[in-house]
Symmetry: C2
Subunit: 236 residues, 2 copies
DNA sequence: TAAAAAAATTGATTTTTATCAACGCAACAG
DNA sequence: CTGTTGCGTTGATAAAAATCAATTTTTTTA
């Protein structure tokens, strides 16, 4: 089931996948020179808000939550990055500390590229620069979007949007023929939606009773995405 | 009264002022070649979400709200841009339509730079490119911040933050010696905070009774910024 | 300057969301 | 296989925020 024409999924996903694709040999070599494969277990912290960045990470496999925690430790997930995306470049380009934290939502394999190599490649490569400018500008649109949704939409609407967006991300894993299964804790889902997990549970129950989704333990399958889009009340 | 050490104002302001400052002569000339001064009256639309971008705007004087409107016309203000900042570059760099609308909060004077000149200067100027990357990365941090505040903080806390941030922006206009006056409609203030204007009015009244602010009609003067910071409950 | 229009304010009420407390189920370790 | 522990679920209640309706104040305009 494609979302084309019925839901603007582009407004919810970053485009960092394309940044390293089909780069000229030389630039690609520079990035690879000292790269290091790193595995992270589910739940493991990759970097922490306020930390000094040492390099960037290319996600070879797995999903990563980018979030901010307030002083009580309550997390707000800003974005879920998926296989093929890059994380950690904002702090380096902004010449600043990490603006958010990153942790593995599932077992992950990342390629770490040291700051120096990334910046050297950048200095050499107009194409890399241009792609980053484009990616960052698109991210601005995505985050603006998120802000307006948080400020104006109800928890139920936000949950519907979160489910639609997550389904796209979990498509990657599903074996063809089998249904797409969203596999995320209620707590993390609540942190995406920006509410208490009890509210998430209650609305999921409502959706299940309306045959819009099916749940089995933590696993969620979407049965009627059109209904979800309707509930999301989002059409721009 | 400086906020240094007591409130992270940097996390709330973009840094696009620095982009055009002290550029090499040649690049600066390219940008100026076809620039055109344009005046906008208070309330006037500068560009509209979804529109095709023709160029960028340098704010010579005035404040501009960047916002998204939902289908009922309800506005959410994403950011208030001030004198010296640049707007409209996201759409051009992202090779996309405008992600948000821009309208004058007061009478404004802008310099319009056509897309072609901006892109030509960019292609010639590593320094301009680097500054844009830095600015956009910082904006990411600002918007992430905004998202976590919207998702986790109460209306009262958000209003306190909005007042602190707005006071900084309105500092520019005030004659030295005179107090800083925030001059914005309740409706726009509500659109910044992400609530109904009635709520804004009620909390302002509460702040006034606690001698934290003073109001005269739409005008707001901040009397006790430390109290506001305390109320904002924001310390990261 | 007076009338009209727009914006701000107030109070009452409803709806939404958060919080608290308890319970059940399922994964996991000994 | 069995306690333990974490996570998901449920119900009850409190708190926060939105909405509605009406009135006052401010600003604009004729």
């Amino acid at each position: 089931m494609s979302l084309t024409g019925i839901f603007p999924i582009d407004k919810w996903n970053f485009k960092s996948q394309s940044i390293f694709q089909h780069l000229p040999e030389e630039e690609y070599e520079m990035l690879c020179q000292n790269r290091q494969e790193q595995a992270f277990e589910k739940g493991e912290l990759i970097f922490k808000e306020g930390g000094i960045p040492a390099g960037i990470y290319f996600i070879k496999h797995g999903k990563i939550k980018k979030y901010k925690a307030d002083k009580d430790g309550k997390e707000q997930i800003i974005y879920v990055a998926n296989t093929g995306e890059i994380i950690g470049y904002h702090a380096i380009l902004g010449e600043d500390r990490y603006p958010d934290s990153a942790a593995a939502l599932e077992d992950c394999v990342l390629d770490f590229v040291p700051k120096e190599d990334f910046l050297a490649a950048l200095a050499q490569s107009p194409i890399l620069t241009q792609r980053l400018l484009k990616a960052l500008s698109h991210e601005f649109a995505v985050l603006s979007n998120t802000i307006s949704v948080f400020a104006q939409r109800s928890v139920k609407e936000r949950l519907a949007i979160a489910l639609i967006v997550l389904r796209e991300k979990y498509k990657d894993d599903h074996t063809s023929g089998a249904p797409v299964i969203i596999n995320i804790s209620r707590t993390d889902l609540a942190s995406i939606v920006g509410t208490a997990k009890e509210n998430v549970v209650r609305f999921l129950k409502e959706f299940k009773e309306a045959a819009i989704i099916n749940t089995q333990g933590r696993k969620i399958e979407i049965l009627d995405i059109r209904k979800l889009i309707e509930i999301s009340n989002y059409d721009c």
